[in-house]
């Protein structure tokens, strides 16, 4: 068993809340807010006008930029408004608001039955170009969190051929189980996606990596791979359960024992990493031309009445999702889009689900802990724990201290931009200093500075 990347922490997993709950249809949409920026890269321009009728799967926003992905309407209906809407990551962003027809209201979304994804599908009929184009047209982005457009990853690069394709089934964030359920229930669809992605990237060596706390998923994918044609050489490997094992850079270190250069991206060393749910979306897009309009979301947290995994229309407001799960049973302190380590706490519950929303986690004060919740701090005691746990081997306390005192050149001399914002340093800090928050603030500040003063 491999599992070696430096640092890392072991937060309690809390996956038992939803690990056994199968994917169920989510709420019928009353109003969908499709954000025009759900990915890394250029923001889409609206492709529809207010008052226009749209059909499910119709493009409502697109961009000509290379690094971008179109967005689609999840339902039949009418564009009520194009307006600014709360965005989980960037604060506010333009969105297309779609309301269903009064006579023909939206139904609860149903995923395709797995029989439609036969394991022995003949993939010869699809060319690499077709696969990449389908992924682009469907608006597929990395569903694991970063939201990098998948088509860009699959695109062949004549200078650096792809040697490895790693399928990421780690799901190292506490609480979240959506990928786990996808691996268990949509096994065939995932395998088909892997086969297609492999074809598109020029048949590189392919490895499926899963943390060792999900033996059932390892077994399910392993068995299916044995039966799928041309997949005998694809190994499923178990990695040590350690946060952030699923981080792209950490995963590559664990699986291949290679480091992605600081400031670089995996393609630079010939590696493509795809999340399991992304693979499933590729299969759907290539075989049925289905755009990415729905995804599996884990709605969880001790306060939620009926936590579980739901197949949800992208654009559904978080509030509707929480209500659909029976609301909350205890006073709640935070609603987090994503998991507790990297997720983003929101105040506006009309924030919609996006392509990268893997979970909605409702945390109570007890789960957060009083010290963390009240943000009571002591001075840094130089204990060095933040250095020990940093998976990128940075010096978080020095960077954070520099940012606090507005010494950005010192922050840069400690490689502030190499931080992946995993949260390990803040998690471990006995002084309860918001290291990750300070570092993120510093990175944003630097990015703005660069924009204002191009060198």
């Amino acid at each position: 068993m491999r599992g070696g990347f430096p640092g890392g922490v072991h937060p309690s997993e809390k996956k038992e809340l939803t690990a056994e709950s199968p994917i169920k249809p989510g709420p019928a949409v009353k109003q969908a807010a499709v954000l025009l920026s759900q990915h890394t890269g250029a923001i889409c321009k609206p492709a529809v006008k207010e008052g226009e009728s749209v059909q499910a799967g119709q493009v409502v926003g697109d961009s000509d930029a290379f690094i971008s992905a179109p967005v689609h309407s999840p339902i039949d209906g009418k564009v009520a408004l194009i307006t600014l809407q709360s965005h989980p990551v960037i604060g506010r962003a333009p969105a297309v608001i779609i309301v269903p027809d009064a006579v023909n209201p939206a139904k609860r979304p149903q995923p395709k039955p797995q029989e439609r994804f036969p394991l022995d599908l003949d993939i010869e009929k699809y060319t690499p170009q077709q696969i990449t184009t389908a992924a682009r047209k469907a608006g597929i982005v990395g569903l694991g969190g970063a939201g990098f457009p998948t088509a860009v990853k699959l695109e062949p690069n004549p200078e650096k051929p792809k040697d490895f394709l790693i399928i990421n089934g780690c799901e190292c964030e506490p609480y979240i189980t959506c990928d786990y359920r996808v691996m268990l229930e949509w096994t065939n669809q995932v395998i088909t996606g892997i086969r297609l992605a492999r074809k598109a990237t020029g048949h590189p060596k392919t490895i499926v990596a899963i943390e060792d706390n999900k033996p059932k998923a390892v077994e399910a994918l392993g068995n299916a791979l044995k039966r799928a044609p041309g997949c005998k050489d694809i190994n499923v490997i178990e990695l040590k359960t350690k946060y952030p094992q699923g981080g792209e850079r950490q995963l590559i270190k664990s699986v291949l024992d290679r480091f992605v250069p600081t400031g670089g991206i995996p393609p630079m060393i010939g590696v493509v990493v795809l999340n399991v749910a992304t693979a499933a979306a590729i299969a759907d897009a290539v075989m049925f031309d289905s755009p990415l309009t729905h995804r599996v979301v884990t709605v969880t947290g001790e306060a939620i009445a009926r936590p579980g995994n739901y197949y949800v229309a992208i654009g559904t407001p978080v509030k509707e999702l929480i209500d659909f799960c029976g609301g909350v049973t205890q006073p709640s302190a935070k609603v987090v889009i994503g998991g507790p380590m990297m997720g983003i706490a929101i105040a506006d519950l009309s924030t919609p689900v996006t392509k990268t929303t893997g979970a909605v986690t409702v945390l109570t004060k007890e789960q957060i802990g009083t010290v963390k919740f009240t943000r009571r701090q002591t001075p840094c005691i130089h204990c060095g724990r933040c250095l020990q746990v940093c998976p990128e081997r940075l010096n978080p306390t020095r960077i954070a201290h520099a940012v606090k005192n507005n010494l950005m050149d010192i922050a840069q001399s400690y490689f502030i931009n190499a931080c992946i914002e995993c949260g390990c340093c803040s998690y471990i800090c006995p002084a309860n200093i918001e290291l990750t928050g300070l570092i993120r603030t510093g990175k944003i500040y630097l990015a703005r500075q660069k924009k204002l003063m191009p060198s």
Binding site: V9, F259, P261, T262, V335, A345, R393, T397, Y427, N432
Partner: protein, 346 residues
């Protein structure tokens, strides 16, 4: 129940550590050494430890008042003043008068910590600052060693210049004597160093004269094991201190084993064990990086031996720690960590 939502940076959960828990663990780890002190030196320990702890805590509170902190009591909650008090008490000669202990404590916290800005900002280990001040001001008091209340090692008793206590030479004082007189000593006679070497077991248990809490090595090791289990300290620091003490201590012994005590004796005499586990590991004044920790520890060991063997004082842990504390910022600068992906090529 979904109103009043808090937004703040991720992560939204915290790990098991807190400053108070870490300091609390250090206090627990110091209990065996305190009990050993109580056992060997009885009433002295009973007075000395509470005196130092109390004066340290009160000093911190007064300093907070003077600095007009909003909540002058809040910083006491991190328990670091208590630790300073205990460590200072355990590193003093048992029979030191209470007023000297109070002066040392006030100096330790006020000058050693609070003038820098409180916990986390101090450069030198506060307890050692207090002790150094006492050594400089009250030399005689700081070198008057009480014989333990239990069995006797047979080290020569110094004529009692204090009527209330039986004083005795420390093993290190004794071996210093040996080094100084080594020219006069024929190679083959059993000199004082040979005598100390033969006393390893008593030294280990603690029935020798010495500082209040430093004498029983068994008790110190017990506390050290607790610290290791609770992952409170960076184990590299004590390991480096002990290794380097052993290595540098071997040099003299290999050259002349009747004049110099053995490296093992170096490890079980004086304050080196206590210093390695409880003083050098003070995170605030030790380097941040692992590489730095090795360097820092090795420096303490080397300097201690240097002072013990070559220098004027019989014991050198305090000064070596203080000297290396001074080097900590430099070590941190030298041992910068490089990101896993290498330096970015911009």
């Amino acid at each position: 129940m979904l109103s009043k939502l808090t937004v703040s940076f991720s992560p939204h959960i915290g790990g098991p550590y807190s400053t108070r828990r870490i300091m609390g663990d250090v206090i627990i780890a110091l209990v065996p050494a305190m009990l050993a002190g109580l056992y060997f030196f009885r009433g002295y320990a009973l007075i000395l430890i509470p005196t130092c702890v109390l004066s340290c805590v009160v000093t911190e509170w007064l300093c907070n008042l003077i600095r007009q902190r909003e909540k002058p009591l809040e910083s006491l909650g991190d328990l670091s003043a208590v630790i300073t008090g205990i460590i200072l008490a355990l590193s003093l000669p048992p029979a030191i008068p209470y007023w000297a202990a109070i002066i040392g404590s006030v100096f330790a916290v006020a000058v050693g910590k609070m003038v820098f800005g409180g916990l986390g900002a101090n450069v030198f280990n506060p307890a050692m600052v207090g002790r150094a001040f006492l050594t400089a001001s009250f030399g005689i008091l700081m070198t008057t060693w009480t014989a333990p209340a239990t069995i006797d090692t047979g080290l020569p008793k110094v004529s009692a210049n204090r009527p209330d206590a039986m004083t005795q030479a420390t093993p290190l004082g004794w071996s210093k004597q040996a080094i100084k007189t080594r020219a006069a000593q024929p190679q083959d006679t059993a000199g004082p160093a040979v005598f100390v070497n033969a006393q390893l077991k008593n030294l280990f248990i603690g029935s020798t004269a010495g500082c209040l809490g430093e004498t029983s090595k068994a008790a110190i090791l017990l506390g050290a094991v607790y610290l290791l289990i609770r992952q409170v300290m960076n184990w590299r620091i004590p390991l480096a201190v002990l290794l380097s003490t052993f290595v540098f201590g071997s040099i003299g012994y290999l050259a002349n084993h009747t004049a110099y005590i053995s490296p093992l004796a170096h490890l079980v005499t004086g304050g080196i064990l206590f210093g390695a586990f409880f003083i050098a590991t003070d995170p605030v004044t030790a380097p941040l990086t692992n590489k730095g920790a090795w360097l820092f520890g090795a420096g303490i060991g080397a300097l201690t031996i240097l002072i013990r063997v070559v220098g004027e004082y019989p014991e050198g842990v305090m000064y070596s720690v203080l000297i290396m504390n001074g080097f900590t910022p430099l070590i941190d600068r030298l041992c910068k960590v490089i990101p896993v992906g290498g330096k970015p090529n911009v």
